[in-house]
C-alpha cells in the first residue's frame, strides 16, 4: 500500500513542477524509499509547496518533526529534515532541503501545521536554522543569552555557559 501512495506522491510532485506550481529547476530528483519512508530531496523554496500538497491531497495530517543535520565541510552545510505521517495511508514521508551556512534559512510550516512552531524553535536553538515565517524563534530549550548552537559540529562539547556564577574554587571550561 505504501509503495502505491509513494508513486502517486512522486508523480504528483513531478507534475506540479512541470506545471510551474513549484519554482522550476528547484525540485531535485527524489532520493527514493529508505526504511519504508519516502525520501524527497527538495530545494528550500519547494518545501512549503510540497508540504501543502502532502497535507491537502494525500492526508498527511501529522507533522512529526523538523530537525537538521550538520555536514561540516560539505557545501551547502546544513540539511533540514521534515517528517510527516499520514493517518489515512499509515505511511511516512521525509523531506530534505539543503541550506548554506551563510544564510541558513528554510520556510516555516507553521501556516500548515501549528505544531511546527515549537519544533522550529528547537531546531533554531540547536542548529541556528532560521525559519522564515515563524515569528517566534525565541530559545525554547536553551536560555536567553546562550551564545552559539550546541548541536553544530564545531561547538566544543566541553564549553559551559552557566547562568549562575560558580562558587569559589571552580572554573568554567571552554
Amino acid at each position: 500500500m505504501g509503495a502505491e501512495v509513494f508513486d502517486r506522491i512522486q508523480s504528483r510532485l513531478a507534475k506540479g513542477e512541470e506545471e510551474g506550481q513549484s519554482p522550476p529547476g528547484q525540485a531535485r530528483a527524489p532520493a527514493g524509499v529508505s526504511h519504508g519512508i519516502l525520501v524527497l530531496d527538495l530545494a528550500p523554496g519547494a518545501v512549503a509547496g510540497a508540504a501543502r500538497v502532502l497535507k491537502e491531497e494525500f492526508g498527511f495530517d501529522v507533522f512529526l518533526d523538523v530537525t537538521a543535520v550538520d555536514w561540516p565541510g560539505r557545501e551547502p552545510r546544513f540539511e533540514v529534515v521534515w517528517h510527516f505521517y499520514s493517518t489515512a495511508h499509515k505511511v511516512r514521508v521525509r523531506l530534505k532541503a539543503r541550506v548554506a551556512e551563510a544564510s541558513p534559512a528554510a520556510p516555516s510550516l507553521t501556516p500548515l501545521y501549528g505544531s511546527a512552531a515549537f519544533m522550529e524553535r528547537e531546531c533554531h536553538d540547536m542548529y541556528g536554522i532560521v525559519f522564515e515565517g515563524n515569528a517566534d524563534l525565541r530559545p525554547i530549550l536553551l536560555y536567553e543569552g546562550f551564545v552559539g548552537h550546541p548541536l553544530r559540529k564545531d561547538y566544543p562539547k566541553e564549553r559551559e555557559q552557566p547562568l549562575v556564577p560558580y562558587r569559589e574554587g571552580f572554573e568554567e571550561r571552554g
Partner: protein
C-alpha cells in the same frame, strides 16, 4: 624554661568558664543527637534517580528509621536538600533559589553521579556537579545509587551532624 602564658583571672573564673565549656559541649552533643534524627528532606528531583529515591524512602529500605522519611515540599520547612538527578544550567538558578530559601541549619546531599560530578554528561546543558552552585555536605556515588549506598550516605551525614557545633545564636541572628 618554656614560656607558658598563664591567664590572669580572678579566683573562681577558671572553674566557671570550664563549667560553661562543659555545658556548651554537652549542649552541642544533645542538639546534634536531636537534629540527626529529625532530618526533614526536600527532594529536588530532576531525573531517573527519582526511582531509587522512591525505593529508598518506601517500606523495604525505610529511611524513617533515620528520621528522614517525611519529605517537606517547601524548602522553608526542610533541613536537607536532596538533589536527585542531573541539574542543567537552565535549572541552576532554581536550585540556588531553593537552597537560599532553606533555613539554617541546612545540609545538602548530592544523590547519584550526575548531581555529584555531572556523571557521564559533558555537554552544553549539564552542570558538572552541583557543588559549583551550592555547598555539598555528602556525595552519594552510583548511577543510580543502590539503596544501601543511600542509607550509608544518610548515616554518614548523621555522624557529621552529630559532630558539628550547634550554636544557639548564629552570626546572622
Amino acid at each position: 624554661m618554656d614560656k607558658r602564658v598563664i591567664p590572669i583571672e580572678p579566683a573562681g573564673a577558671t572553674a566557671k568558664s570550664a563549667a560553661f565549656e562543659y555545658i556548651s559541649t554537652r549542649k552541642d552533643e544533645l542538639v546534634g543527637w536531636a537534629r540527626k534524627f529529625s532530618i526533614f528532606p526536600y527532594p529536588f528531583v530532576t531525573a531517573c534517580c527519582a526511582m531509587e529515591f522512591m525505593a529508598v524512602s518506601s517500606t523495604p529500605y525505610d529511611t524513617d528509621r533515620f528520621g528522614a522519611a517525611l519529605p517537606r515540599f517547601s524548602p522553608r520547612q526542610s533541613d536537607l536538600l536532596m538533589v536527585v538527578g542531573t541539574v542543567t544550567h537552565k535549572q541552576a538558578p532554581i536550585l540556588l533559589k531553593v537552597y537560599e530559601q532553606m533555613c539554617e541549619p541546612k545540609w545538602v546531599m548530592a544523590f547519584g553521579v550526575c548531581a555529584t560530578s555531572g556523571g557521564f554528561y559533558q555537554n552544553y546543558a549539564a552542570v558538572p556537579g552541583i557543588d559549583r552552585i551550592v555547598p555539598v555536605d555528602i556525595y552519594i556515588p552510583g548511577c543510580p545509587p543502590r539503596p544501601e549506598t543511600v542509607i550509608d550516605g544518610i548515616m554518614k551525614l548523621q555522624e557529621k551532624i552529630a559532630r558539628e557545633k550547634h550554636p544557639i545564636l548564629t552570626k546572622d541572628f
